[in-house]
Symmetry: D3
């Protein structure tokens, strides 16, 4: 009888404890971009959320782009945009500006995190040889210094995390000749999350999530398995811009990331909402067998 | 008799061993600037030397400026230089460009070091809160975002060195409100060397060293004690541009750096020459009591 | 008045805080064996509990045996059991099979822990020179490769714990000539717990605990001091198989382990019950002065 | 609607989470002295509090003096006190006794902390070259081996904290010739807190805090900004003995310490009261901009 | 003139120093197998060489197979080999034996290394989640638990190396359901070398190296670039068994390994011969641009 | 032919390399005492030697006593020596003085090492719970706070060595009630060397070494195996004071120390002579099988 009481008590613990797993030194990679990077208040909110995730025990890594800011500076410097077959070309001069701007954005985020009392270190994919790339062709055309990640050397990230820093990464890599290349920030976030077997990868986007029917706002998908996601792409449910993002999600799950989130960065504190509330917002891509273990009847 | 032979053998060892001290996990801070930063061949030579110092057991830290490159980009962007009482003002726009350029130079050095097979990490004084500054006035005038170092938080440097990276630092700091400030690279190198109690601090300059008589090329000083250096300044032997540099040397010695070198960066491999040859080149500033210990008759 | 209110508040904190001590980076060694190792559901429960202990802040180390599995494989390979004076002999061939089986069990546990999202590393007492043994004689007779622990070199355990792994140890050691020896798993767990000054050592057994009167099931002892335990042995209260186990408990307490638990591994979640409920189950062996400090009236 | 509910939930989290920041691997330097060092019960309480701070996640460092105990031993050894212009002189013999006594007190604190289940390491400012001093003159007079801190080399503290020890520091430093010097413990605590950018620095004193009117017990100041504090000194509101202590507080805030507390060490558990209750007791000196961030309307 | 002498001296240093690079904390992965694993004297020689490499400053990692020993035990246990379309099938029972044998061989190597005074830790690809695999089909057929590496999580290797252990890895991995899979040891060595950006990867084989004409013993190739190697495969110069090995070499070079060696493990001390003598023995596969840097005329 | 040349070259390397083993991150424990502690020049020589050992790659730990200095201060304080059955008693007052003096000596050594450019940390056996003791009785009599080591917790030593400090240990330990006890320094050195599996343990003594015939100065023994040493004790060859020292040597070898040296601390640089010359001076106690491995004909 008494034993039964104890067993009940243990049962409660066992039910409660899995949630702890979410707080415990797990790596979470946040791809930061879109509106959340332009609007100053959203920006502050996002960085605050990431800082809070660190304070409660996560090990966050921020990967960011620099999109509009690069265009602004390319114009400022008076450079002529170049095109091949209608595609913008990242020639050496453009790459130089892009690298300057991305590093500037990077260090601004470092300042912001530091001002919240957390130590941050801003790096690019060149530091510690983090990102090694090949030239990415677009339809067979050479469009300049645009890189495709061939290899991630995550040691620098492990080292910074071990020393209790919050790493902030801008998506620049080097090829075998140590030239600089611009990398799509989504690709970088995904590759980095895989390389450190992140618990979570969260994309801050300007959409609400993935929809079964892109024209029906009520068809938002909360949870998706990789094979369902692949089917959605195949079936043409998914709109153009979303395809590579969803492909990144699928790849991440297949390479050791436990959960990927597509979040609406325009909702204040979307990151916290997702992580600390039950259902979350946006769309989560999960491993096929997740949630079975602790929720089963054993 | 036999014992005498052994004692002789030990004597030889004791004579030889002090040199080992120079190779053994000692920190050497290299202020990299001037011509050595413009001429591509000199640049390659300097970085090679630093890499070799690391390979033989030193723990080097590079601190660099960006001088001419900043001016070039300020012009490129079409900004009007501003002056107060004849002094160039680093207003917010100029600071933004300066920060972009310094980070660009920083990552170029990272590439170069990595291409030589050594892992480097490029940081600014914002990363890990490394450099905290106050606004520096010039003759009482506010000349904008020019910072004077108030405090160095060396933890990030210790951490990178422990993890076997070569840290490359660009001289940007933050004030209490987390604004960016430009810092004189010599000051940054000196403050950083002090904060980690570096064994050596080497300034790569465009002069041959310190002269007793600045008009007599044969009066180059090989070794200088801090008090002699102070006297040279007082007596007016030292020319204007040299005074702050020499003051940095004196401060460094008084704050725990064992040896400071003023080297002619235009001489190929001046760093190796200084460290691996007996007399060295350029001018060395030493602690008053250095060299006494092992060379005494005990 | 106001101060009184504050003092009351602090009092509550001070009462609550000691419990935190149980969660905070303390090492807990779990000797895993018996039924809990045979029954698949119990097995899963035990490993889940250990994983949860890690997630809430403990640093667990698992030490396991392989008993029945070794016998099964010795038979499978068609080896003839050898005896000296009625004692089973661990000759070189038997030892080879034992080492294979123990390492197999070890890696199965690694898989199980990893599947629960926690990084584990499985080692034997040979790795990092963890367990150095002497040959153990039985009544003066050489019974082969059965080892008695002479020394534990805990560095490998500290290193794995520092790097956030859960170490899983199988009880094989080396003698001075680097031959493999089988070690009693209870002895190994006890010696390992002592070497790292573990906060807790828990033996999962097939009994309910220690009894004052082994024939009276109501005489289960909840808490025992080492000297009482020694007296129980002396007075013949303790049955044969229990004596060496209790001796291990006494030794552990006398060598820096704070608390030892003899738990009934057949009760699901016995580990959690013991640690997170007030009275616990099974028998705890405590230091003479434990519990006095925080519960006193100071 | 549903979203609103989620937003409310997140709001609660965001309000709650800042408090977590206070528990999370932040460094807190405790200057331990005065009555709390003489009364055995207060002593035990203080050390218990510091241990609890460590157990809930802080990284505490204790800096202590040894005042009365030094005088007692100087007398015991039969030494004649020496004076210059009415000032007690710390000659070589006195310094030898002072160093012995301070190290004795240091190791007693180590014992006490260890007895509470936490690993401590006692060091002086000589270990790892922690404290480098200059001779301190008093009104131009040489009063012997009394040191003024010139430089703190915090590596040893970072290393001990990283390895999960509680460092206990006694205020002895070395000059350039490696002679021992006695240092004021308040100065040492302040310099150490600055060197590691401590979150908090707490002075345990024998007064209730800082008063606007030292003769009006109801005028206790709860919170003070550095510039107000400076004004209080200037205006003569502050009594003699308090001036250097308050100056230490101002310096600490200006050099990267987030909050300084002047606490009444005679109140049991004053440290816990201050940190875990809202208003706290004693006087807190804060950065000008603290509390704005999380409490603002963003 | 004097300067010239110094420059000459520096020149000598600069020529000499590159060799140091080979000794300095570089990772070298040694695939150990073939005759060198069967012949006791060769075995001892190989392990001695690896130990010496560690003692002179390299960070070696051993990856080994277990080939003939597995077959021997499969027979010993009386298991019937199964075939599908003429291919041997690794069913669950075979896998169990394979895992036992590989771990046995692994721990034997640990013993051997430890007996030479160096600390070793033996792990499989399950420990720390090192090797994640997919099922490998052979011509579309399911041949059981044979794995193809999908991902390497090198953290455990970095951690062991940082703590000064010599890691010894046996090629077993886990799939997403945490089942055990056998992996080709060459593949494992290659993937591991890539994941840690090893300086060198050395295959100990039973052949002299790669030949231009496999029937002409005088046509041994000393150095090969990846594209030449690919051409040799394409042109049919390379014999069947050599093709996958050479492909591993090419992949490794293309993924960040600086040099790969195919060595004749039957030559005593072939590893030392290769690394410490100028030409080396066997065939080296090099990056296209290697050796240019230091040997050029800059 | 060519191959023969290569083999010759490798042979030379293989002959030379074992010596490197002596320099490579091996722990050497130096028991420092006797005349070498009294004579200022010998003192300086010993510490210089230890510092040089660190600079060439060893990891030295110094363990020291304080003998005569304790007696001097006990007298200075005017304490009456107490005796029981003719044995000096270490009562609480004596222990207090002893602890003060030992810590004073400890910090003097720290100063000396720091002045030679190497970072040292001075600890007692209380720090980090390094030495846990039982009361040592002398012929059944309680002679006060004299401790016998029950357990060494070497974590603090590993941590200091990993962080590149030279640990200096004074032989004070704590019992279960956290009282201070004086420990024989030879016992402490031996127990510490065992706990970290030191490569070497060197006792600096005031004798030339061990003699076969204590009356024949030509009978100095260069090398001794543990069993020979035990026989010498048994046969009465060894004089009274030497017996416990030799017993410590035997114990150390039997517990994982590779070599123990009894050196004449009165010979300048005896440590270097012993380690860097072939035969050495004094007496070395070796493992039975040492030197066989590399010097054999394989």
């Amino acid at each position: 009888m008494v034993m039964q009481k104890y067993l009940d008590k243990a049962e409660v613990l066992i039910e409660a404890l899995p949630y702890i797993q979410r707080f415990n030194r797990k790596i979470i990679v946040v791809k930061y971009g879109g509106s959340a990077m332009v609007d100053e208040e959203l920006k502050r909110n996002v960085i605050k959320d990431v800082v809070l995730l660190k304070l409660v025990g996560f090990k966050p890594i921020i990967v960011h782009g620099g999109g509009k800011e690069i265009s602004r500076w390319v114009g400022k410097v008076g450079m002529e945009p170049k095109f091949i077959n209608g595609l913008r070309v990242t020639d050496q001069d453009t790459m130089e500006v892009a690298e300057m701007v991305l590093n500037k954005v990077n260090k601004e985020l470092v300042s912001l995190v530091q001002s919240l009392g957390v130590k941050a270190v801003g790096i690019s994919g060149k530091d510690g040889g983090l990102l090694k790339v090949d030239k990415k062709l677009s339809g067979g055309e050479d469009i300049g210094y645009v890189g495709e990640i061939r290899k991630v050397a995550p040691k620098i990230l492990y080292d910074l995390l071990e020393k209790d820093f919050l790493p902030i990464v801008c998506p620049i890599g080097m090829d075998d000749e140590f030239h600089s290349y611009n990398i799509n920030a989504d690709d970088a976030a995904s590759a980095i999350a895989e390389s450190v077997s992140a618990e979570k990868l969260a994309f801050l986007t300007d959409i609400e999530g993935v929809f079964y029917d892109k024209d029906d706002p009520s068809s938002l998908i909360s949870e998706l398995r990789p094979d369902e996601a692949a089917r959605l792409i195949e079936n043409g449910n998914i709109g153009g811009g979303m395809i590579p993002k969803l492909q990144n999600c699928i790849d991440a799950i297949n390479n050791g990331v436990s959960r990927v989130h597509i979040l609406d960065g325009r909702i204040p504190h979307c990151l916290l909402l997702e992580i600390f509330t039950n259902k979350g917002i946006g769309t989560a891509i999960l491993k096929d067998d997740e949630e079975k273990f602790y929720n089963g009847n054993d």
